[in-house]
Symmetry: D2
Subunit: 302 residues, 4 copies
Amino acid sequence: MNERQYEIHTDLALEARERFEGDAGEIPGVSLEEWYEEQARMKVTRVDVLDEQGASLMRKEIGTYITLEADFRDYEEACQKILAHWIRSLLPEGSRKILAVGLGNKELTADSFGPIAVSHLWITGHLAEEGMSVSGISPGVMAQTGMETARIVEGIVRQMRPDALLVMDSLAARSTERLGRTIQLTDTGICPGSGVGNHRRGLNRRTLGIPVIAIGVPTVVGGATIARDTLEGVLSLLCKQCEEDSVLKKMNSTEREMLVRQIAEPRFGALYVTPKDIDETVLHLGAFVADGINTAIYGYLL
Amino acid sequence: MNERQYEIHTDLALEARERFEGDAGEIPGVSLEEWYEEQARMKVTRVDVLDEQGASLMRKEIGTYITLEADFRDYEEACQKILAHWIRSLLPEGSRKILAVGLGNKELTADSFGPIAVSHLWITGHLAEEGMSVSGISPGVMAQTGMETARIVEGIVRQMRPDALLVMDSLAARSTERLGRTIQLTDTGICPGSGVGNHRRGLNRRTLGIPVIAIGVPTVVGGATIARDTLEGVLSLLCKQCEEDSVLKKMNSTEREMLVRQIAEPRFGALYVTPKDIDETVLHLGAFVADGINTAIYGYLL
Amino acid sequence: MNERQYEIHTDLALEARERFEGDAGEIPGVSLEEWYEEQARMKVTRVDVLDEQGASLMRKEIGTYITLEADFRDYEEACQKILAHWIRSLLPEGSRKILAVGLGNKELTADSFGPIAVSHLWITGHLAEEGMSVSGISPGVMAQTGMETARIVEGIVRQMRPDALLVMDSLAARSTERLGRTIQLTDTGICPGSGVGNHRRGLNRRTLGIPVIAIGVPTVVGGATIARDTLEGVLSLLCKQCEEDSVLKKMNSTEREMLVRQIAEPRFGALYVTPKDIDETVLHLGAFVADGINTAIYGYLL
Amino acid sequence: MNERQYEIHTDLALEARERFEGDAGEIPGVSLEEWYEEQARMKVTRVDVLDEQGASLMRKEIGTYITLEADFRDYEEACQKILAHWIRSLLPEGSRKILAVGLGNKELTADSFGPIAVSHLWITGHLAEEGMSVSGISPGVMAQTGMETARIVEGIVRQMRPDALLVMDSLAARSTERLGRTIQLTDTGICPGSGVGNHRRGLNRRTLGIPVIAIGVPTVVGGATIARDTLEGVLSLLCKQCEEDSVLKKMNSTEREMLVRQIAEPRFGALYVTPKDIDETVLHLGAFVADGINTAIYGYLL
């Protein structure tokens, strides 16, 4: 299995799972379910990372990951219902005071999903009302604030004592086809800026002491994805013309990944790749996910 | 003195002091100095509220209030130097980790000075450098976050432990002529949204345990200001034609203020008044004040 | 009638008509209809300025003015239908290529309704499709562009040759209660910046050669409105205490208006008055009116 | 020479010229000068496309292209002077009424340079003043307006009759190292959206009848750049291990380019690649270029 250790980073558990697709049988410590929601034309994937072994193989935290894939614009109402259903499922019973956090840099279009989503929520935390209430904040990124985002959120959580945290963020995927048509929900929390730097403090039940539901939307792929896709393209085109014993044909997947890393990281490490219409995508998905949360929490529309 | 109890609200200590202008002599517990900075064409006023008596008469916290009045655009460099000087004067010796907070609603032009100023600061809190460092955040207003702004800031201060807080906010003045050409600096802190609601928790040394320097810029006057100016205008025009014993002539200042309150509050309480070019004003003053802070802290330009 | 010549400016034909409310009978050259739409809890007023005499009395162009007054948020769907109906009614039969123009300054919250509305339209002008198509632009205001807005629009209209123009703008009302809960539709076009300056070139069929439908939303009242309301308040309070022959009691409405003008214009001419929650109002009304236009043009939702 | 026909698109004449670097001697119809400005630590390149032959080889219009490469932040004042000098040089003698146009989509960070630059210009077109005047507009992109940008600008130019056009736009480069540290000035005009689509109408003296100076800043590279860099990386790494007669070693540059196109276009055609700090870059370069224009036109600072 360790031939997969050079894999390209992805924030999607679904894509982390796909690396093992070729393998016969199951992955220890990981369960997988997939189904199709006919009315919404939506593919739903549920990955459960069950134990430490699964977490280590997948390089994902233990917990549940729900991935929704669809053209959300086309069957908006049906998609909305499924999204609201899964938000409610992940929120622990009895959560009444919700704090929503929009991660990311609102000045950078591809990173603005979180702040846009929070701006569309129905904010009721300051109103003395029955039932559930939602507060919300978009603290900005470390280059703007000079502070680690997780620490800012920690300070606010300790002061305000919400029952649960709902965190929205833009994600990095590995497949360009998933950009703009995928939503991942998880109860494992999130690590702000994970796609960018590392060794950052996470936002999760362990660090904050309350349940943390993360809702992410892939908006970028790293430069390494293009490098890998190019390499695969080159190899598949060239190998047809190659001798059997060519150095190209003889490379196994580990060697390919090492090659991609060697080439991509120094050249493309500070770059990201995003679709040309990402401005429309984040505006739509921000409003769409906020509507899903509003529905899940206040029970309207259903 | 209690005839002044119906005064129109102002965030400027200078204007609070002006109510007593007619009085012969000093106000107990309040000292006042005024001078003119020739090169910057700037009027500087220093009001010190010295004790509880002064605080109660002025309805301002004990501490120092510096007011700069000038056409900041015209003598930008000279004005900048004086601003930087006073920021440094108010910051306690030995403050190294500064947290800057931009109060106000960035979606509302007349309330956006604080967030604009913070966006122009040189943020260095995340860099491991010698000397002073600045972090910054603009948390939004309660209608957007569902949380009291002072509590958000309190949570962040407890987590990040800065040496001093620098708070920027849009203020309400009483005189329309001061809008856009006045900066107030004070070491007494600030009460978020004080111009709007009340009973809010303040941001000051008492609540946060660290020095709080507030830098405010008047961008609005309340509807009551227009009501009062109208009444005064009416009275001065009509009194010329009045009999000596007319009800108009006989009104003293307390009665006039009560009249204004009675008329203005139900009608204009939820309104604010602002100049038509306030968008350019807040953009300029936000950048101008940020430059002053950058200069004061990093020592450039001087 | 000339006692009304000092009236405070309003962009609403409805309010221009209200000045004559006390008069017995009809106004020559002006017809008025009012009714209530039960399902939408909406008051609808239709004013038709029929001829030059009416235009001169009302100081409004000849044409039709529809005013919708409601809490648009509360009965959104029912209100939407009525709005879409009236947009379709005013658009001439056979208009296929529509150019939508968002007037106003998007950096000034109270003036941003037009640009927000245009940003929510379904733009199809560049797609080769059957049926109606919409193009859209928000050119900014003269202080930003250095050009008269009407001339910019004229240039674009001559180049693109749309069948009809749909113009969205923020309006000045006279009554603070109408702010945020009123939409005016008219086939008479509009004069950009009319609330602010004057002698500007209008956008109408005469200047552009095509039908111009204007959709406006009152977001501000002038300082003069507060001055007048204050004066009226003062008078009604004081007159109870006045002698019969007091100068106050003897003032007729012309004299009152002259008094307001004399006081308000030099003091408040460069100011505007707006509600504290105008940011939420323009965001909601911008999206709401855009949905009405989308429905009217593409026939969805109905 | 025709082996270069598969080259990756670039908006920089400098990069178009670099393709011929290996060639001994001159390119017919193209002159090249390079020098170093010591005080500004700036490399300046001047490419003149002299005739049809040069235009066809370079695939660039006939005219002058000045490229400034520097860390503009570090030697801001010295860089500013050189920029202002070249803007003045390209503006025809006697141009008094300047129209500045900010091309690009301000909602897409990497495409927002043009609108940001225009927002920082001193707009004087509406003031009746001696000397030069500047008007400015940022019309948005075709997906927002439904209209070809060149036609909008054409309409405005015909209406307003400026003496010269100054067009600002975000460019696509081929080298990731040039992003954020390059400014190109040219008197050949520009083709809006050329990096994105094609067959668009240009903005130049031929189409508009007035001189058109374009100032562009590279903010993105196409996905094809990463594909090519990857391929080159792969080849240089693998060839060390290859037999002399390997298919890899035998590929010439045309074959490499064909390979990149074949792989990159279907996969990465709708994507762009940009640095992670592009938000700060466009904000700084927008203000920097605007200052250069202000200086060039109004003569301040010098």
